[in-house]
């Protein structure tokens, strides 16, 4: 594994740290099994990509991508709160609907720029010539790309960790955490749990879409398939983080989740560059299978270890 490859993996890991923080809000804080993530990640990428494609400032594009995710999350929340559709089902409905919308968004750029006569959907959008938020700091030959990207993404992660920290300790933040753990208590204390759930889902998916926005800028293109397994990666990161750094303090848990996301990426990078695995024919096409196995391990191992140490203690 080369140094550049290692840094690249950490960079991607940091992007998924944002995603994992989003998933942490829905799954852990709100106790809302939310599959919207698989569509809000590419939604963020598609909206950001479209904006950059038509020449909008990449910073504004990034935040528009994030905002689109907020709307998607709020939609899922609305379906659940206002129409009483099951949480999981609400998120699946939004996810399926967004798939079409994402195809449309990815296809509309070339039409706006007059490159195609028809307004049709597309599974991808090339951004190789587009200006990204990284562009101003990049050397002409992209030789410092492996440094610039992880550092800037790290800045994003730090800023959003700080903001979330502040937010979760405000009155609304406490209300959100109470809503997730004990809805009856929350209601009896005057917390409008419905509105709080919608807000939380918006924040969660906003973070996930921000991840998508940054992701397409590191990849030189947006693609409909980048969202596949987002939720599983987010969950895996949370579980890895929680098992390696067990803590209850909210700020520390979020740091654990961030490290979990980076570690997860490193595991994957290791698995894909391992000579033995390469020899027996494991390649990038097996990524999702490796992810699935990792999640199962992360879910089961901590419990097994606890059992084992208990037995030895006796």
């Amino acid at each position: 594994m080369s140094f550049e490859f290692l840094l690249g993996s950490i960079g991607i890991g940091l992007i998924y740290a944002l995603v994992s923080l989003g998933v942490f809000i829905s799954f852990r804080l709100l106790d809302f099994p939310d599959l919207t993530a698989d569509a809000s990640f590419p939604l963020g990428g598609a909206v950001c990509g479209l904006c950059m494609y038509v020449g909008i400032d990449p910073w504004i594009a990034t935040f528009l991508g994030m905002f689109a995710g907020c709307i998607a999350g709020a939609m899922t929340g609305l379906l659940y709160v206002k129409l009483n559709i099951l949480q999981l089902l609400s998120s699946i409905i939004v996810m399926i609907g967004l798939y079409s919308i994402n195809l449309r968004i990815l296809g509309i750029g070339p039409y706006i720029m007059g490159e195609t006569p028809r307004m049709a959907g597309s599974p991808n959008l090339s951004l190789l010539d587009a200006k990204t938020i990284f562009s101003p700091f990049m050397a002409e030959d992209y030789s410092n790309q492996y440094l610039v990207q992880p550092i800037m993404i790290l800045a994003f992660v730090v800023v959003f960790w700080l903001l979330l920290n502040l937010f979760l300790n405000t009155q609304v933040g406490l209300a959100l955490r109470a809503t997730g753990t004990n809805q009856r208590m929350a209601k009896s204390q005057g917390i409008p749990t419905g509105a709080i759930t919608i807000l939380g889902m918006a924040i969660s998916n906003g973070l996930i879409a921000l991840g998508g926005s940054l992701f397409v800028q590191t990849q030189g293109g947006a693609d409909i398939t980048i969202g596949v397994g987002t939720i599983v990666i987010g969950l895996a990161s949370i579980i890895i983080g929680e098992s390696i750094f067990p803590t209850k303090r909210i700020w520390a848990v979020m740091i654990a989740v961030i490290f979990g996301a980076i570690l997860y990426r490193l595991f994957i990078a290791f698995a894909l560059s391992n000579e033995f695995l390469q020899e027996i024919g494991v390649g990038t096409e097996d990524l999702n299978l490796i992810t699935a196995i990792l999640v199962v391990l992360a879910l089961v191992l901590p419990k097994q270890l606890k059992k084992y140490s208990k037995k030895r203690g006796k």
Partner: protein, 264 residues
């Protein structure tokens, strides 16, 4: 003052397990009254409290609190007027939040939740003072997770939380039933002390006839979703547990076999 009129509530309407819980229940409670509520299982005691708090919405009838019709209000909207302590100590407090965070939420009951920091030095001092009155040593454990406390401690904190903001009525739904006898007595005494000190209008559901007469200023017996006995003042002072039991049996038309009612 609380007015409850012609309250009707049916669970699972139109199904084989239909259950008509409240059948035109009427009850007026004056300011400062401490009402104890008794009745057999299924008499509608908890349902009545849940309808007043907004956890359940009545099929028909009306509930007014201080001349405000709240019949259709959701629970969170009524929280500014209604404080409550649940039977299950796990329900009244949030185990994943610290003690001070739980108190901070209760301190904001009935107000809008804003983007201001939920805790500050002034509040911590206040919470410390309040917790010290419980004599449980919790004033030194402000940043401990609520989940670390015992059921009795959590119930005591729940009680304290219900007094952090003024309310028009305090609802206690068998809030000592899940505790061991000694802790139950402690929480009950604490309840009495808090209610007296703050002059709270209170409704307390209990399974124990003894408690029903020993505490409070008025006792109401429910049967099949209606008030069948309502005593206060001198009449109530003269009443003994045996009298109450007789009336209880008369309304039910059968002998009481539940030891908890007799011995509780």
């Amino acid at each position: 003052m609380i007015k409850v009129g012609q309250l009707q509530l049916t669970f699972n309407q139109g199904t084989p397990i239909e259950n008509h819980v409240l059948r035109g229940l009427n009850l007026n409670i004056k300011k400062g009254e401490f009402v104890t509520i008794i009745g057999s299982n299924g008499a509608g005691k908890s349902s009545l409290l849940n309808v007043i708090s907004g956890d359940l919405i009545a099929d028909s009838g009306h509930i007014t609190i201080n001349n405000k019709d709240v019949t259709r209000w959701p629970a969170w909207k009524r929280a500014g007027m209604v404080a409550r302590v649940f039977q299950d100590p796990m329900v009244g407090t949030c185990e994943n939040l610290t003690i001070e965070e739980n108190l901070a939420i209760a301190y904001n009951r009935g107000n809008n939740f804003t983007l201001r920091p939920a805790l500050n030095r002034r509040l911590r001092v206040l919470f410390k003072e309040k917790l010290a009155t419980l004599n449980l040593g919790l004033e030194n454990r402000l940043s401990d997770m609520m989940g670390l406390l015992s059921g009795g401690q959590r119930q005591a904190v729940s009680l304290l939380m219900s007094t952090l903001q003024p309310s028009k009525i305090l609802l206690l739904d068998e809030h000592t039933a899940a505790l061991d006898p000694k802790t139950a007595q402690f929480v009950l005494d604490l309840t009495n002390e808090i209610v007296q000190k703050n002059q709270l209008t209170t409704m307390m559901v209990t399974h124990s006839m003894k408690q029903a007469l020993e505490y409070g200023t008025r006792t109401v017996m429910l049967h099949q979703g209606q008030v069948v006995l309502d005593v206060s003042g001198e009449q109530r002072d003269k009443l003994t547990v045996t009298d109450l039991l007789d009336m209880f049996e008369k309304t039910r038309g059968e002998k009481v076999t539940d030891d908890a009612l007799l011995l509780g």
